[in-house]
Symmetry: C2
Subunit: 129 residues, 2 copies
Amino acid sequence: MKISEIASKVNVSAKTIRYYEEVGLLEPPLRKDNGYRLYHQKNVETLIFIRRCRELNIAISDIKLLIDVQQDPKASCASVDKIIADQLARIQQSQRELALLEQSLATLAVSCKNHHVEDCCILHQLKSL
Amino acid sequence: MKISEIASKVNVSAKTIRYYEEVGLLEPPLRKDNGYRLYHQKNVETLIFIRRCRELNIAISDIKLLIDVQQDPKASCASVDKIIADQLARIQQSQRELALLEQSLATLAVSCKNHHVEDCCILHQLKSL
DNA sequence: TTTAAAGGTTACAGCTACTGGAAGGTCAAT
DNA sequence: ATTGACCTTCCAGTAGCTGTAACCTTTAAA
């Protein structure tokens, strides 16, 4: 199938698919005589795998590792466990940071009932906090 | 004062200060005969303001607006209110997204008790979910 | 048969907010 | 005179795409 066909199948833009190939996430596919990329069912599965990982915000470099480790079915899956655990930890860290941010912004946001820059409580706080 | 002096005063790298100047967030300062940037107390205050905004994750384009609006003390501070409210909304949206992400990752992370790639529950779920 | 639309190709630039590094000028102390 | 710390500019890199340009191929309509 051609690139736009697989693109609509896995719900990713053709541009993105070419990008995944460029960064080594996707094997360079065969080409037709005219130079067009030619994809197969296996590529669909890989792309769906990649998209699921990306939806979990897993970095492309980690997705590469997840794909590589699958080359050897007998290999330990410890690295897989670690990638997911680390990703979870990162997300939780981001959550903590966002919670702090939200607190600060929420406090700031309710503080201004004035209408002019010169006595705007928000600006005042941003300057003197 | 020279760039590294103001940099350590406001706890920002000299590199970042030059960057803020380049993107129009900071007025180009006077130069000494040797070409060195020469900063004043006013610049310290502006930089602290900028850093506080950045700590709230406010985009540089929005910080520009916040700085510009302060040119006219009689101007309405509605745009200030809006920038902060929008920022708060963005943060809250990110929080909702991260909460979903965390759920998915947490489920995934506890699911694997096996040790080989061929029957790794995590990989299995990532492929078939 | 010409032509126009739709899709393919590559290559380069842009997004955000910095950061790193190279190459070279300046300054203060030894 | 030289060393080391600091300053300057400019270019490239980060993550994960996305937009655009210039060009080629295929397919369908006029």
